[in-house]
Subunit: 307 residues, 3 copies
């Protein structure tokens, strides 16, 4: 199994064995970081961070991972100062930037753009989010986080909570969790359920149990892992309805007390109102550990695909 | 005396001995730079340059210092492209970014924000300016500059000239100079004097002589060091009054001729009209040397606090 | 012949021998890149990328070149977040930034600004474009590309196609090509011819043949190299006239079939409508190779001028 030169566009492009390989590599990276071992796998190599829409978190995470591997970073985060603003096509931008670098990371508002970039580029392309579509490194780091914190993924009860219809992260994560045989509880407001097509795909492909509910308390009761995402007001036609739903889907300390003793809460961040700030200090809150795990996971991915 | 992991938020957090230690380390850094000795103290480490308000000069200075130490830099300088723009709290931003880096440098428009960041973060935090409050690395580099160029600080007559009421740099510098037993002449327009509270604090804590005047010529007469800052028009209610004061507090070559033969002029830069451009070429103008000293001083600070 | 500390402001500052030396060095750099040899010539050194107007392509190209040499990069690309926005003069910005770095790269909208920067700075300054004036590293990489792809420059028929009046790239390139004894065919719409002054200078200085035409088909017929640039609508008073000219100066596959078998097409990029996209896939299209050659050429230049 060789990753050399491989593009990372969607979690669906990877077999379970391949993801396991990435998780293993990430484990090694984490050990090196913890032991302060200086890595030089990417010495003399350049990663291009092409952010056609802003995302400080993901951009800095990739930059940090590349530099922790001994490599360097170029890029942009604001297309108003790019050739794109002069009318250049995405194809030409990719054909140009690939000459300057060894690995491309791309975030773009248009779905399918990362796949297009990968088809054009001779250098490996890592999708850092293409519109509402895919964000595979987030899913892999989520799986890594769960495995690290709970010891396994198989057989865990994972509650996915919030807007499962539009959330890019949730659709990919549901797929990844099912692949690793977790049991899924999908907790979303009416109208923001995980698309039927995604559920059908998962059920057909994997041997997984799926429960759906719009009752947050019952959804959280048996969860080992509670993965929360934002509910965006603008998804609702009625602003009052929106605020009511937002409030009832907010995780409070009170709710948390009714969850399993060993349950953990994750979130792809940034969070706004969907988790009560006081929860940050509880031992269940693990989203900042999750942020950290992004580094070894992205280091592993970059190191595996480097030409 | 260990600096490891220490935050650098205000000059007031440091004893004289600690500042002397930083100045000594900076001296060593300067020697290494001059001898072209490649340093690797921060190899494999990452500094996060978090600029919530723009400051090219300070941002580039920290980036240069970190890279001269063999380290790497990540960061942002425009919050419109950050998670902050998506409603994330400063607390969450810090808790996230600290996972990506080894040292945090923060500039933020709100006073106290750097202290808050330091309380949250497990990684050392260096304040690169929090509103009108503190900018401690500027003060330390100012002290270093004076010591380098005049051989000592103790007993020197230092004139602080301009808006001493709102200037962040001046309040901290007055404190630092007093700690090192310089004599202070505070030269400011009526209404823009150094706050009484600052003067009281200095006089109570240190054995220093303070003279106050709004007459610039008499203020400069005996100065060994003339430290100039901007007078901002918008501080005045009356625009004519503002322009009059601005003009009378502008350092001209003519004024300069009446100062001591060996006097030097410093400025935190950027300067606009407060120093006549022709002065740049005189041997008294030392503000660009001062810029340079920012590098070894920031190298010393980063190297001392690194975990 | 020493380049150490030399500024790179205009192609006219270089003798043919000096440019040949750069081309030779670039060849060595290209070999190192191809063989994956890690270079450390600029280890511990810092390049300042000062972009007073946006240019992702050139900025990333210099950043990549510097990092491939083992060096680091600081800089800005948006003057709204710089001290310039606070009213600082270009002189002060340069005098400041040169203290933070070892080599300066500057792009500035005002003609002559790079020369001014070079006069102020003690560190070598490389002009990355000053308004409509000069962009010498582009010309050198163009010469390198032609030499690489055609084996020589002398005696080649080179057609320069498009707006030769305002195109910064074309004026410098015509000069460089003449220096290396290429034959020039200048193909431009009426009113957008290469300035007479430039032609006169070239003819007086070099032993070169110049043909001028506004007929694109006849202009391309004998060309070994076809170098295309944009025709900007806003250069015309009459918008219909503009569109007519733009259309007739667009290179189509049909036109291409009538050119020499071995002809190549180059472009400084970004391109918009002036080359039919289907041409990208033909073997004559070499503009993305040209992009790549920018890296070894800029590596060579940085390495030669470094202090």
């Amino acid at each position: 199994m060789s990753f050399k030169g491989k593009d990372v566009i969607s979690i669906r492009d990877f077999s379970k064995e391949e993801i396991e390989k990435i998780l293993e590599e990430a484990e090694k990276m984490e050990t090196s970081l913890a032991k302060n071992i200086e890595l030089n796998y990417l010495k003399g190599k350049i990663l291009a961070n092409l952010f056609f829409e802003p995302s400080t978190r993901t951009r800095l995470s990739f930059a940090s991972a590349m530099q922790k591997l001994g490599g360097s970073v170029i890029g942009f985060e604001d297309i108003t100062s790019t050739s794109v603003a002069k009318g250049e096509s995405l194809i030409d931008t990719i054909k140009t930037v690939e000459k300057y670098c060894d690995v491309i990371v791309i975030r773009h508002p248009r779905e399918g753009s990362a796949r297009l970039a990968a088809e054009i580029s001779e250098k490996p392309v890592i999708n850092a989010g293409d519109g509402a579509n895919q964000h595979p490194t987030q899913t892999i780091l989520d799986l890594y986080t769960i495995k690290k914190l709970k010891g396994r993924i198989k057989g865990l009860n994972v509650a996915l909570v919030g807007d499962l219809k539009y959330g890019r992260v949730m659709k990919s994560l549901a797929y990844g969790l099912a692949m690793f045989e977790a049991n899924l509880t999908l907790v979303s407001p009416v109208g923001l359920e995980l698309p039927e097509q995604t559920i059908k795909e998962i059920v057909e492909k994997f041997d997984t149990e799926i429960i759906q509910t719009d009752n947050i308390l019952s959804g959280l009761k048996n969860a080992d892992v509670i993965y929360v995402c934002r509910i965006q007001k603008e998804r609702f036609e009625d602003v009052y309805e929106a605020e009511k739903v937002q409030k009832s889907f907010r995780i409070t300390s009170q709710m948390l007390e009714k969850t399993k003793e060993e349950a953990i809460i994750l979130h792809a961040l940034p969070k706004t109102v969907e988790i009560e700030p006081s929860i940050d200090k509880t031992k269940k809150a693990k989203y900042f550990d999750q942020v950290y795990y992004g580094i070894p996971v992205r280091m592993a991915i970059i190191n595996l695909v480097r030409p």
